[in-house]
């Protein structure tokens, strides 16, 4: 009981002071291999303002005969370093590519940990501008997740841009990269490993955790339609469990986004305000998702801003 109390207080102190004094020591960096040469570290389903928030995205790597491609690097330099160590434990093959699926902090802040490996950083053609827009915000809001002292230089953007599609060869192992029109963000990218028919969706697919809209709700629903037609054997979502059935895994997200889209459209035609929509639209979806608070309201607000122009 007393120990629980102290632990709780320490947690509170960390939250308030952002002190690294209570940061976890060396922990085991979980790594699964759901298909041959496909390594995934599962992110935790936590909010962005609690301890552990730098480890919420699914990140990992794919190993070919000549090259390793890292796919997303986590929400801190520390997580990036842990991933880099995990690569080194798994293989001696060089890291040729670090691929980012989009701009969000939980997927890109670990990039800095890979610079010494001199990889090519690869992303959607719109990622470079998106990172430039966001990097000062990352420093301001997530400074403790950088190598100290934090600086915008640690936010590493792509040197190889994907306008539409690009194939990277890891050595007898082609990766097909596809840039998507505005959907979850304005710079989404998916990675398909042809050898194992594994698709890394980035945050075009959220499972369990509420999807967060930062691009276009109409664009995202179009992307879901397109994704659902793909023939894949394994899916690594941006958040939530690895699965074998892509179209089934997309269904809850599609249902939620359609519910928001229809609710906001109806609200607009009935003359409802944004705040009214934030309170009432798609509220029946709440029991189906983790981390609803705040994110749902923001999604509705974003959808309202997009759909008021229809």
């Amino acid at each position: 009981m007393a120990r629980q109390l102290i632990a709780g207080t320490a947690l509170c102190g960390w939250l308030l002071l952002g002190s690294p004094a209570f940061a976890a020591g060396p922990t085991l960096f979980d790594l699964g291999q759901p298909a041959p040469g496909v390594y995934v570290h599962a992110g935790r389903q936590l909010a962005l303002d609690v301890p552990g928030h730098d480890d919420i995205a699914n990140i990992g790597f794919i190993v070919g005969s000549r090259c390793v491609a890292v796919i997303d690097t986590g929400g801190s330099v520390r997580i990036g370093q842990a991933l880099r160590s995990a690569v080194r434990r798994a293989t001696a093959v060089p890291i040729c590519y670090v691929i980012n699926t989009h701009v969000h902090v939980d997927h890109v802040l670990g990039n800095a940990a890979f610079q010494e490996e001199r990889p090519s950083f690869v992303g959607n053609a719109a990622l470079a501008a998106a990172l430039k827009r966001s990097r000062q915000f990352f420093v301001n809001e997530y400074g403790a997740d950088f190598a100290q002292p934090p600086s915008v230089d640690q936010v590493i953007g792509p040197d190889r841009l994907v306008e539409d599609e690009l194939t990277l060869d890891l050595g007898d192992r082609p990766l097909l990269l596809k840039a998507w029109p505005k959907a979850h963000t304005d710079c989404d990218l998916t990675v398909f490993d042809a050898r194992t028919a594994t698709l890394w969706t980035g945050d075009l697919l959220f499972r369990e955790r509420l999807p967060a809209l930062d691009g276009s709700i109409k664009g995202w629903l179009s992307a879901i339609d397109e994704l659902a037609r793909l023939k894949v054997k394994l899916v690594v979502p941006g958040h939530g469990g690895v699965t074998r059935n892509l179209s089934a895994a997309l269904e809850p997200e599609r249902r939620y986004l359609e519910s928001v889209l229809e609710g906001v459209r109806r609200g607009l035609s009935e003359g409802k305000s944004m705040q009214d929509a934030m309170e009432h639209v798609a509220s029946a979806e709440k029991p189906h998702w983790l981390l609803w608070e705040g994110v749902h309201q923001r999604n509705v607000a974003r959808a309202y801003e997009e759909l008021e122009w229809e």
Partner: protein, 266 residues
């Protein structure tokens, strides 16, 4: 032993801070829910209203709704509601965000209009009071206010892509024609944003006035500033159906250009 004492001290300090934060705010809120004081507000009040008495208006007569945890500091929705009163005592409403670099968000001229609701989206720079001050026809002043937790709304970078055409206006009446949403394509640059490509400040450039006419007479006139969000959006509701035609005229702060749109009915 020393380590334990240090940790205990740190924990105690954290706990003390937590208690101070957790307790101080509610107490202040209880004492001063609708007329919170701040040094920023004292200056604003003196500037705009001198030492004139300011009453607390009944919530049924005017209310201000703001999300305490905003979904987006750069686009926080505010809703003002007014009683559907024949006598229309309120002739003008100013909206302030105390802790913004430019606290006066908008001035709405409501004299003789049947407007019962106004919605707009604003930038919120940091934790602040948001206030609506009504000036009544007999010269009185009345206030409603709310708190918003946010940070960075004034310096938030511009949206990912500037879509549409500068000054394009979408006029969207509700199905029952008792409300109207006016959306204007405009960066409404605050002057506190940085161009991510060049690193240079983006000069202030905003919509300075919006006038909505209905059936040939003024429905609402608003003077607006840099605390209004990108792509300014103004929603008004009435107790009765809008009279046609509805026209909108918005003025650009930089070029003095007039952006206009008219709705003639379906």
């Amino acid at each position: 032993m020393k380590t334990i004492a240090t940790i205990a001290g740190r924990v105690a300090a954290a706990l003390w801070i937590a208690l101070t934060i957790c307790i101080a705010v509610p107490v202040q809120a209880l004492e001063d829910t609708q007329q919170p004081s701040s040094s920023a507000w004292e200056l604003l009040r003196a500037k705009y209203y001198g030492d004139q008495f300011m009453g607390l208006v009944d919530e049924n007569y005017m209310s201000l709704e703001a999300p305490s945890n905003t979904p987006d500091p750069a686009a926080t929705p505010l809703t003002l509601r007014f009683a559907d009163d024949e006598h229309r005592r309120i002739k003008r409403v100013r909206v302030f965000v105390d802790n913004n670099p430019s606290p006066l968000v908008a001035t709405f001229d409501l004299a003789g209009t049947p407007v019962t609701e106004i919605d707009l989206r604003v930038r919120i720079d940091r934790f602040t009071s948001v206030r609506a001050i009504a000036e009544t026809a007999d010269g009185g002043l009345e206030m409603r206010s709310g708190w918003v937790h946010a940070s960075g709304g004034c310096s938030a970078p511009p949206g990912a892509a500037t879509e549409g055409v500068l000054g394009q206006i979408r006029v969207r009446p509700a199905a029952d024609a008792k409300s109207l949403l006016v959306s204007i394509r405009h960066p409404n640059s605050s002057g506190f944003q940085i161009d991510p490509k060049t690193g240079d400040p983006i000069p202030a450039h905003y919509i300075s006035r919006i006038r909505i006419n209905s059936g040939g007479s003024a429905l609402l006139e608003a003077e607006t500033g840099i605390s209004v969000s990108e792509n300014p959006s103004l929603r008004i509701a009435l107790g009765k159906a809008l009279q046609l035609p509805v026209s909108v005229d918005a003025v650009d702060s930089e070029t003095q250009a007039h952006y206009t749109a008219t709705w003639q009915g379906n």
